[in-house]
């Protein structure tokens, strides 16, 4: 079952076809990797799918079909309903993805109330359980911290937790491990794999690090200069699968 079907080109002012007719599909529960060097258009695609590229001055041409809906012609209100609830974004730098002036609990609360009518106190236990699953401390003290008071690895888990609050079908992860130390890197990869296996969440995993992608992804597409060069199935031994888990 195709979850996301993308056929787009993206223009920036002064640079036409920064992304040139890139087309790929992601099925339900699939982990699709997009590899490429810096400047190949990876982040542009990530933002374009969520129609956030307009914030950076870009313009999307083409079609983005998500669960049967064409996002490229949706209005802002409909897009806002999709963002964060059905499709989530995890960015490269967790420190800059979190508002430095607000406590973690406030930010979780906002992520919750963006899409749910139920009051926060009803949802809080669920979120705390989510934190536990992410491997984060789930006491009140942790939630009262500011982003600057947690480590980078923890911050990235918090971002992923916030992305999972409404159980989205697809996570777009734009270089989620590039800003982390090697130890945290392995943990985040394992976490993403866990989300995919346990919850069936599809992942669009964008990175320039091929080895990590070969561990995590079912298929990998290679991007260069805004063009998608190839799409390959990743073959793995079942044993390496178990050892990662």
């Amino acid at each position: 079952m195709t979850l996301l079907s993308v056929r787009i080109s993206v223009d920036y002012p002064g640079k036409r076809d920064a992304v040139d007719q890139v087309a790929f599909d992601i099925g339900e529960g699939e982990v699709f990797g997009l590899a490429g060097d810096s400047g190949s258009g990876k982040s542009t695609i990530a933002l374009a799918i969520l129609r956030l590229i307009e914030m950076r001055g870009g313009r999307v041409r083409g079609e983005i079909r998500f669960r049967g809906r064409d996002l490229s012609h949706c209005r802002e209100r409909e897009l806002r309903q999709v963002r964060g609830s059905e499709m989530s974004l995890v960015m490269q730098s967790p420190a800059s993805a979190l508002n430095p002036a607000l406590r973690l609990e406030t930010q979780f609360r906002e992520a919750w109330s963006n899409h749910a009518k139920a009051p926060w106190r009803e949802a809080r236990p669920g979120v705390v359980a989510l934190l536990r699953q992410m491997g984060l401390p789930c006491d009140d003290e942790f939630l009262k911290r500011y982003p600057s008071q947690v480590s980078v690895g923890q911050a990235q888990r918090v971002v992923i937790a916030m992305a999972m609050v409404h159980g989205p079908k697809l996570i777009i992860a734009d270089e989620p491990t590039s800003a982390l130390d090697p130890g945290s890197r392995g943990e985040i990869l394992a976490l993403l794999r866990k989300l995919n296996l346990e919850r069936g969440t599809a992942i669009l995993y964008i990175s320039h690090d091929l080895p990590s992608m070969q561990e995590l992804c079912h298929r990998i597409g290679v991007l260069r200069d805004g063009k998608l060069l190839s799409c390959q199935q990743v073959t793995r031994e079942t044993t390496s699968l178990v050892s990662v888990v």
Partner: protein, 309 residues
């Protein structure tokens, strides 16, 4: 499937930093206070130096009187020139400490009295003008950030640009023509300047990555601009408060002078016209003190509000 071990407890810094934080605040406050004292001294020295070196020092209208003969003129000139810069400074500083602010040459009354009489009105003018200008700047800045319409942005930019081209005095005269309060004139002078700064701060804040991330979580427009753009900009906005006070103090002289509002600003202007040195010197020192105090306040407020440790 094994649980991923929590890395939490060991990592992350503990919030036992209230000691060092208040220590840092105290140190910063002490630095600012010493800067204040230094500025007072420096402005007195600089002012006295400039005034002493000015071609007109030591002369007054009496020397223009043709009836006086050459000897009296020479004697007057000698008396005026005999005060050196350092002596003048020393006299003023000691007078300041004693509370004796000298006597106005033009008006014949103690400077302190003159200032006290007029201070109330000036404070009201300053407060009114600043509050109005800030309220307008924040409201318009916020509205533009929420609306996100280029056409509105451009028109407001052109309007404020136009206002910036008009000399303060002319703005004051316009308000005088319409018999409007001088606080409004001050607000009209300050608004384009404060608004430009506020707009830049908000725009820079809106470009930060966490705003994009919040939007990716489906955050609504109003909440986005309030919680993710405005709140993190509070430190810079507080810093701007100090700057805006300096701007207001500078603008109050032409505004009060031309709007005929009898405050300290008008007094300073009249003293400049009447070449009344004691009043000018003390007004300069007063303004320097107020400016430094304002900077001290806004620095401290900014430090208290900042979450960057």
């Amino acid at each position: 499937m094994t649980e991923i071990p929590a890395r939490g407890a060991a990592g992350g810094s503990q919030p036992v930093r209230s000691n060092t934080r208040s220590g840092k605040l105290a140190a910063a406050a002490a630095r600012r206070l010493s800067a204040l004292l230094l500025t007072v001294v420096a402005s007195v020295v600089l002012g006295a130096a400039l005034v002493r070196l000015a071609p007109g020092f030591g002369m007054d209208e009496r020397q223009m009187d043709l009836r006086l003969n050459e000897e009296s003129l020479a004697a007057m000139r000698a008396q005026g020139q005999s005060t050196g810069i350092l002596t003048a400074c020393r006299d003023y500083l000691s007078g300041l400490a004693r509370g004796d602010w000298g006597v106005s040459v033009a008006l014949g009354r103690p400077v302190r009295e003159l200032m006290a009489d007029r201070a109330g009105l000036t404070v009201r003018n300053l407060a009114g003008g600043l509050v109005l200008a800030w309220a307008l700047s924040l409201a318009v800045g916020f509205a533009l950030a929420v609306a996100r319409r280029r056409a509105w942005d451009t028109s407001v930019t052109l309007l404020t640009g136009g206002l910036l081209c008009i000399p303060t005095g002319i703005v004051a005269l316009v308000f005088l023509y319409f018999a409007a309060p001088s606080a409004w004139a001050l607000a009209a002078v300050l608004f384009p300047r404060i608004f430009r700064y506020v707009r830049n701060i908000l725009q820079d804040s809106a470009r930060r990555p966490h705003v994009l991330a919040a939007r990716a979580r489906g955050c609504g427009r109003l909440a986005l601009v309030w919680r993710h753009v405005s709140v993190p900009s509070l430190p810079e906005l507080f810093a701007l408060v100090g700057v805006s006070l300096s701007m207001a103090v500078g603008a109050i002289i032409p505004v009060e002078a031309l709007c005929d509002s009898p405050g300290v600003g008008q007094l300073v202007w009249q003293s400049a016209m009447g070449r009344d040195l004691p009043v000018l010197m003390h007004a300069t020192v007063l303004v320097a003190v107020v400016t430094c105090a304002a900077n001290l306040f806004s620095d401290t407020a900014r430090a208290l509000v900042t979450r960057e440790v």
